[in-house]
């Protein structure tokens, strides 16, 4: 058998990955980093056409489209490590039946299509369960499969507006902002990981599979929990810009150079005494007094920071025990000595492209065992042989019948 899984605690767990875009693939990446064996089930056009009309959002692996641009989309590859690729036409009866045979061998199937997609392929949960009653099935419709909003189109940024976060983020109550980062997706991704490991553990005693529904909307609302409770307790919160309801000073301050900034927080009175000595302010001010002098304190910080680079300022403040950190761009992050020393960015991908690693450092979770994003359909034969025991002849027939692909059709 081709070994593509990492060696973590989920070694032996077989996942069929039918996810796309961000939340789903990110969740599967986390599970693969923990050792799960993942087969990426892809549609022939799942990575786009043979000829791309424009460069993808994150650029090309290696900097150019090359002869196989569909395999070089950097943002796609970033999420697709530690997988084998099976490119199969699920709209054909043979393709659909082959998937159901794979389902019989799988522990987990994850998809994040719209609510209608899987049933329309004849692959709804009940159908999958008939093939494997121990299957853990994860579906991620934006608003869930039930409820008045179930048919609404959901993208991360639009759901964020409905979660409560947009009311709290911004320059003040009259100037709300959206993160414009589709934050509901990484929230849903990590919730999905938690849900899958929970279900795997519970299956050890129940011996039954389960259907898990992830709603982008509920994931976002869950993160607003404390604010929602405060509102019911008669303590409404509101957007405060970069200020904090309890910490003074707390903010983002300008440093020397264009668009260079430093984040700083004074977390207690001890830290304040150190900071006040540095700034030439009154060291005895309590938090309440500091709140009354916020403008004066912020002005003193601005003055002190004006000639300093953000890295230099962070080092000086950390040296006296103040929470401070530069507002980093990606090149700043990559060059950060802490990030370098822990080897967070790892160059397992083609062209030695550095990719974000995993935050989980534990025995068996080893980036040295990771594999790059496979080419589309690169593992058609090995997956069908390893999982289903199909012969070379049968696999060749499936390919010639147009059920299997290794490039997007013309």
């Amino acid at each position: 058998m081709t070994q593509t899984a990492a060696l973590g605690p989920l070694a032996g767990v077989k996942i069929l990955d039918l996810t796309h875009v961000w939340a789903g693939p990110l969740a599967v990446r986390y599970l693969s980093d923990l050792g799960a064996e993942v087969v990426k089930v892809e549609a022939p056009f799942g990575r786009g056409p043979q000829v791309f009309p424009y460069a993808p959002l994150g650029g090309w692996l290696g900097g150019e489209a090359g002869d196989d641009p569909w395999n070089r989309n950097a943002i796609f590859a970033k999420l697709m490590r530690n997988r084998r690729s099976l490119c199969i036409d699920l709209k054909s009866e043979t393709g659909r039946n082959t998937l159901l045979e794979l389902v019989a061998e799988a522990d987990v199937l994850m998809e994040n299509f719209s609510a209608r997609a899987m049933p329309s392929l004849g692959l709804g949960y009940e159908e999958l369960r008939r093939s494997n009653k121990r299957l853990i099935y994860v579906t991620m419709p934006g608003f869930g499969h039930e409820g008045p909003l179930k048919e609404r189109v959901a993208f991360g940024p639009t759901v964020e507006a409905m979660s409560g976060l947009t009311e709290m983020l911004g320059y003040g109550p009259e100037e709300p902002r959206n993160t414009a980062m589709a934050l509901m997706d990484p929230i849903t991704a990590l919730n999905s990981v938690a849900a899958v490991v929970t279900a795997l553990q519970e299956r050890e005693t129940s011996d039954e599979g389960v259907r898990i529904e992830m709603s982008l909307h509920e994931g976002g609302v869950a993160y607003s929990g404390p604010w929602l409770i405060d509102w019911q307790l008669g303590k409404p919160n509101q957007s405060m810009g970069n200020a904090h309801p309890e910490l003074v000073p707390h903010g983002v301050y300008r440093c020397a150079g264009a668009d260079q900034w430093l984040a700083l927080a004074c977390c207690n009175d001890d830290q304040w005494r150190s900071l006040a000595e540095l700034l030439g302010l009154e060291t005895s001010w309590t938090r309440q007094v500091r709140q009354a002098h916020t403008q004066q304190i912020d002005a003193a910080i601005d003055l002190w920071l004006a000639p300093l680079s953000k890295q230099e300022a962070a080092e000086k403040l950390q040296a006296i025990g103040i929470a401070a950190g530069p507002v980093n761009t990606v090149p700043d992050m990559v060059a950060d000595p802490q990030v370098e020393s822990r080897g967070f960015f790892v160059p397992y991908e083609r062209f030695n492209t550095p990719m974000p690693g995993t935050p989980i450092k534990m025995e068996g979770v080893d980036p040295d065992t990771w594999s790059a994003c496979p080419a589309l359909g690169a593992d058609n034969a090995s997956v069908l042989a390893d999982w289903l025991g199909l012969s070379e002849e049968t696999i060749a027939e499936l390919a010639s019948a147009g059920v299997l692909h290794d490039k997007p059709p013309m």
């Binding site: 970033k78 902002r177 929990g225 025990g321 990606v330 450092k361």
Partner: protein, 335 residues
């Protein structure tokens, strides 16, 4: 029942919240009050309902040795050592710290806003010519808590002893969208553009008659969006035929959209979004979220009894495993 010991702040607290709802017996050791973006009463109700809570003067090593899993959050790597983390005999131990347990910054002082800055989030939020914005709330800690929970349960599933070292900065960087590959593969540094997603137009926040609305109109939805706005003839305007054209004429487009939305109410926009199936989110304030019929119908809320005896609605689990009913929890005082 599997025993979990939880030590630390809001990241460990969030992990413990997930353990409680998965049926584990969770004991939380309180270490004093950490600054929060909401009241302590709300934080306790949200995070700690269903746990037993004890004060720091209890023999923590004894509790750890008796537990199956420890989730221990500390402000700095050395604080873990002071707690005795390394000596605990618990089969599964998970350490949550701002920078991880090793490296030159392992003992740097941190707060969520400094980690969000160092992890690349802050640089992307806010307006281009203004100060970047930090993210309010506890995203950083809750996401780290979710990672800690998953690592612990995965180790328990494998029936392995395990020690996990999880850094908040690395958790954040693992969740970057396309910023890292944009730099490494295209040599571009992503900037901030207010609420505008920038690569898709229109994708921005607009004021309406009684609130705000966010739209994210990828090309598939352009025609129905114009119908929603009540300007279907705009489909003939060659400036806006393609996403590239809409990006090029972004300011003109923004003005047109703003002019249409400012005459509509939130309710009207919501109704139109449903009718025309357009990806759009009317900004909900907290009272709107609490009153959302969709969440009521999905039985999303838990009933939590706070320390003061009030019963509040709190979000249920963010995942729905086979339609499990939500449960009620009490917030116990520290003993």
């Amino acid at each position: 029942m599997t025993k979990v010991l939880e030590v630390g702040g809001y990241a460990a607290g969030y992990a413990g919240r997930l353990f409680v709802r998965a049926g584990y017996d969770v004991v939380r050791v309180e270490q004093g009050v950490k600054p929060a973006w909401a009241s302590q009463q709300a934080m306790n109700a949200y995070l700690h309902a269903g746990k037993r809570r004890v004060s720091l003067d209890v023999p923590i090593a004894d509790l750890a040795d008796a537990a199956d899993i420890v989730i221990c959050e500390a402000d700095r790597a050395d604080d873990l050592v002071k707690l005795g983390f390394d000596a605990w005999s618990t089969p599964v131990k998970v350490a949550l710290t701002p920078f991880g347990r090793t490296g030159p910054h392992a003992n740097w002082v941190a707060s969520p806003n400094t980690i969000l800055a160092m992890g690349g989030y802050t640089n992307l939020m806010g307006d281009e010519e203004r100060v970047p914005l930090t993210l309010p709330g506890h995203y950083l800690e809750f996401q780290t808590g979710a990672v800690g929970y998953s690592a612990a349960v995965a180790a328990a599933y494998a029936k392995r002893s395990a020690v996990a070292d999880i850094g908040m900065l690395e958790t954040l960087m693992s969740l970057s969208q396309f910023t890292t590959v944009l730099w490494h593969c295209a040599g571009q540094i992503r900037g901030r553009h207010g609420s505008d997603f920038w690569s898709v137009a229109p994708s921005d926040l607009f004021r309406c008659l009684d609130g705000w609305v966010y739209v994210n109109i990828v090309p598939t939805f352009w025609d129905p969006f114009l119908a929603l706005l009540g300007v279907p003839d705009l489909v003939l305007d060659t400036r806006f035929e393609t996403n590239d054209g809409r990006r090029e004429h972004r300011d003109d487009l923004r003005e047109l959209i703003a002019g249409a939305f400012i005459r509509m109410t939130r309710v009207e926009i919501d109704e139109r979004a449903a009718t025309y199936r357009v990806p759009l989110g009317v900004v909900r304030t907290m009272d709107h979220v609490l009153a959302e019929p969709h969440l009521e119908e999905r039985d999303f809320w838990e009933a939590i009894e706070t320390e003061s005896g009030a019963t509040v609605k709190s979000p249920g689990l963010p995942y729905n495993i086979a339609n499990r009913p939500r449960v009620a929890h009490r917030t116990e005082a520290v003993r």
